[in-house]
């Protein structure tokens, strides 16, 4: 029985660590502010899995309690983050984390994307989302738009 408990623990901890790691990698690598926020939540998921596993192993409520409060805090952060993201988008017109690099040491050159990939033909079929039921206009120009930084 005890072996089983320990094995269960190891399995869960491994899953938790992987999820946490994927969140970290996403936070570092992805540049979309929304996706970055999701990745941060993913880190918290990893922690939650770990905590719940420990809680089971120690037969202690503490871990589960911390998970409850992690969910609460995540909700708070989400509220702040989403309001923030909306306002940042209103200001910058894009959700690129790399846009926000005005504050840096003097004499350090800004980071500029060396190559912005062209939209490839087979990848063109993005769904256009209608926020409030208005039929989307298909803008051919925008579909093959090449962005600049």
């Amino acid at each position: 029985m005890a072996e089983a408990e320990l094995d269960l623990l190891q399995n869960y901890l491994t899953v938790g660590a992987i999820v946490f790691m994927l969140g970290v990698v996403g936070l570092i690598a992805r540049r979309n502010l929304i996706v970055m926020f999701l990745c941060a939540e993913m880190m918290l998921q990893g922690v939650s899995i770990t905590l719940v596993a420990f809680s089971r192993f120690h037969n202690d409520w503490g871990g589960q309690m911390l998970v409850v409060f992690i969910i609460a805090v995540a909700a708070c952060e989400a509220a702040i983050a989403l309001a923030l993201i909306l306002m940042l988008y209103a200001r910058a017109g894009k959700l690129d984390a790399a846009y926000w690099q005005e504050m840096r040491e003097e004499n350090v050159p800004p980071y500029i994307d060396r190559e912005v990939p062209l939209e490839r033909l087979e990848e063109r079929r993005w769904p256009d989302l209608a926020p409030a039921g208005v039929a989307p206009e298909i803008n051919e120009e925008e579909q093959s738009h090449r962005s600049h930084v």
């Binding site: 936070l27 570092i28 540049r31 790399a98 800004p110």
Partner: protein, 764 residues
């Protein structure tokens, strides 16, 4: 705080009030008080003055209750200023300070809890010297502040002036009540700072700014000596407290010390006053003599010379007259310049050491004093600036005081302090009178430009006359008693059998000569100002009239003081609570009448003791009583008194002969070959300034330019190279700070990885 005695409360309140007043003025002055900036200061000083008189009364009572011991003092510990705690002495044991009631303060602030190798407490002490100085300082400051209300009323920087004055009074009261050398040094510097600020008060005037700088620089020389002396004292005695220095551990012998502690507790341990030195302990064995002792004394004396404007560091004081006249009266005549005298008197036990193979420190003190007195007296003869005459006169009188301290006998020291006390009255009176004249003359202070003012300014005239007579030493005014006591003390030593008897004999003659000169130059100034044809400079304009009552009332009060203080306090038969009694109750002085105490010159002391119905063998209390009861005027000194009185009258007469009328006699006299040279020297102020210029300033400049070149080309290069290293490192790391959010996250994560790797490595 509630368990403080009345004396302790008073002692804290006296400096606190000027401090509070200063803060109020500084904060509210520029915006709200403006022309009324004097109110807080004057108000604070009134209370402070009343309190310090009350303190004197309380002290008297306390002295009477402590008949048995030698001396009386009370300390009050405010807080520990600096203490290197013992907690980290390596043993790991830590003393838990404080108890469950949360009364941390009393434990921590216990000055006797020398919980570390270096422990400095902010502690005040009250004893005879301190109380006399406090009373004098607050009283004179109060009168001068009132005077300044009238004097400064038109000045835009009124609030600044009163702020500085308040700060000065605070610093000065703290200086005289400080209980250890560090505090003394701090406030020593603080009064110097106030002096600097006030000399340069009218900083738009080039001379004023220059004079301020000069005062500061010359004082630095003295302070340097003082600081060195402190280091020496720390090294030798292991303490910087006055009371500890008097029975320093390791000097007295450990058994004596511990037995003393058992009997009396450590000094300063309780707030109570306690008798000291009741055992017949050879007090002198507690002090270190020889070369070190001499060095300490000389360095202290250097500090005193700077602050008290003694030869050869006296050059700053005459220039300091560029400041407002109340400042000259308060700081540069009555109080701050006497700090040096006070300090030397306070350190009497240190000066009394036997430096056998070397010079005797007291002879040095006396010589400097006598020389200063004479030289300043000669210079004062020819000055035309009324305030400068008074400034040189101040130097001269301070010289008297040092001469008195240099005699080393109790009588002499008390005489010096008494002269300090009376001098404060009549010299500030004279300065204020000069200020009044200056005020009326529209800022002109050159005596050649005005004259015959006695009808125009009757009030000033009469009060100035009182001051001048007192300064000249005419019986029964204040100056007579104190100066006479000094002359008598010097005379005694000179006619004794001391090693330096002949030196003192000469110094006595010089002092007599100075007494004559004093009368001469004082009345020269007096006649030139108030007699002769009425002459008013153009600058005066419609100002030329008697000053307002707010200025003359302090003059009158001071004049009454100048008339009476000598008579009241210096008379034979004055009570034991008189000046001599109070001063002699100071522990550091009281040890001198202790049977075990061996004076500089046993023979002279014995002789004077014989004249006091002598008793080296008699009980100390009785002896002290004899000093106190008889006052400073011993019967046998009538001879000295008569000589000095005659000299003074002679001086006044000669001055009248020379300077009443058109002064053609003077011009005739100056033509005499000897007098011509003398006049040249005197008029050139003994050429101190040019000599200093050549000897000190020019080499300094040359050295500075050499150093500059060296520094510019060699050191700078080196330093710059080293100095560039940090910013060079900074540039290396600069690129990490590229502004990209995700770069930062990556760096953070790399940091975590590094730490994690080291942790895993550590655990493997």
């Amino acid at each position: 705080m509630s368990d403080w005695t009345t004396i302790q409360k008073l002692l804290v309140a006296i400096p606190a009030l000027p401090l509070v007043a200063t803060m109020v003025t500084a904060l509210l002055g520029p915006r709200y008080l403006r022309g009324k900036s004097h109110l807080p200061i004057v108000f604070g000083l009134v209370i402070s003055c009343v309190l310090s008189l009350e303190l004197l009364r309380q002290l008297n009572r306390a002295i009477e209750n402590h008949e048995t011991g030698i001396g009386y003092e009370t300390t009050v510990d405010l807080w520990t200023w600096a203490s290197v705690p013992e907690a980290y002495d390596g043993s790991g044991s830590r003393k838990t300070i404080g108890d469950s009631t949360g009364r941390l303060i009393t434990d921590v602030h216990d000055a006797s809890d020398s919980s570390g190798p270096f422990h400095i407490a902010v502690t005040l002490r009250a004893d005879g010297l301190t109380c006399i100085m406090l009373a004098m300082v607050t009283l004179v400051a109060l009168l001068i502040a009132i005077y300044a209300v009238g004097y400064m009323h038109q000045d835009r920087g009124c609030w600044r002036f009163f702020t500085y004055i308040g700060l000065f009074v605070f610093s000065m009261t703290m200086l005289v009540s400080a209980s250890n050398f560090v505090l003394l040094y701090v406030f020593w510097e603080a009064v110097g700072l106030c002096s600097y600020l006030l000399i340069g008060f009218w900083y738009e005037k080039r001379e004023a700014a220059a004079a301020g700088t000069k005062a500061f620089l010359v004082n630095r020389v003295g302070d340097f000596g003082f600081a060195l002396a402190l280091f020496f004292i720390w090294t030798v005695y292991g303490t910087l407290n006055f009371h500890d220095t008097q029975n320093a551990p390791g000097v007295l012998g450990q058994e004596r010390l511990s037995s003393m502690q058992q009997e009396f507790g450590r000094p300063g341990e309780s707030g109570e006053g306690h008798p000291r030195g009741a055992q017949d302990q050879d007090v002198r064995t507690g002090y270190v003599g020889g070369g070190i002792g001499l060095a300490i004394c000389l360095l202290l004396m250097l500090g005193a010379c700077g602050k008290s404007a003694q030869f050869p560091l006296h050059v700053w004081l005459p220039d300091a007259m560029e400041g407002p006249t109340p400042v000259s009266a308060l700081i540069h005549a009555a109080t701050m310049v006497t700090a040096g005298v006070y300090m030397v008197a306070r350190c009497t036990p240190l000066f009394a050491v036997d430096c056998a193979p070397y010079l005797d420190p007291r002879a040095v003190v006396a010589t400097i004093g006598g020389l200063s007195a004479l030289i300043a007296g000669i210079i004062a003869m020819t000055q035309n600036d009324l305030k400068r005459v008074l400034a040189y006169s101040t130097i001269s009188q301070l010289g008297y005081m040092f001469l008195a301290l240099g005699t080393g006998s109790l009588v002499g020291i008390i005489a010096g302090m008494f002269h300090l006390f009376t001098h404060a009255f009549f010299k500030s009176l004279l300065f204020l009178g000069a200020g009044s004249v200056m005020h009326a003359m529209g800022g002109v202070i050159d005596m050649r430009k005005f004259g015959g003012l006695r009808r125009l300014m009757p009030m000033t005239f009469w009060t100035f006359l009182a001051g001048a007579l007192a300064l000249s030493g005419i019986w029964p005014l204040a100056g007579f008693f104190s100066k006479d006591a000094i002359l008598a003390a010097a005379y005694d030593v000179g006619h004794g059998e001391a090693a330096y008897a002949s030196l003192f004999l000469w110094l006595t003659y010089a002092a007599f000569l100075t007494a004559f000169l004093t009368a001469l130059y004082t009345f020269r100034a007096f006649y030139m100002t108030f007699f002769g044809a009425e002459e008013i400079p153009a600058e005066a304009g419609h100002h030329a009239r008697e000053s307002r009552p707010i200025m003359t009332v302090p003059l009158v009060i001071l004049a009454l003081g100048a008339l009476a203080v000598g008579w009241i306090f210096g008379q034979p038969g004055a009570t034991k609570s008189g000046f001599a009694g109070v001063a002699a109750s100071t522990p550091s002085l009281a040890v001198m009448v202790h049977p075990g105490y061996r004076a500089l010159d046993t023979a002279a002391e014995r002789k004077s003791a014989a004249e006091r119905k002598s008793a080296a063998e008699k009980k100390s209390a009785a002896e002290k009583g004899s000093v106190a009861e008889k006052g400073l005027h011993q019967d046998s000194h009538r001879r000295v008194a008569i000589i000095s009185l005659v000299l003074a009258v002679l001086g006044i007469g000669i001055a009248g002969f020379l300077y009443l009328g058109d002064a053609r006699e003077v011009r005739a006299i100056i033509q005499w070959p000897v007098m011509k040279q003398l006049h040249r020297i005197s008029y050139g102020k003994f050429f101190f300034d040019p000599v200093y210029w050549i000897l000190v300033v020019l080499p300094g400049l040359a050295l500075a330019s050499i150093c500059y070149a060296f520094d510019r080309w060699l050191i700078d290069g080196l330093v710059n190279t080293i100095g560039r290293i940090p910013s060079g490192i900074g540039r290396l790391f600069r690129n990490m700070q590229c502004g990209m959010l995700q770069t930062y996250a990556l760096w953070m994560l790399l940091g975590v990885l590094t730490l994690l790797g080291s942790a895993v490595w550590h655990m493997w």
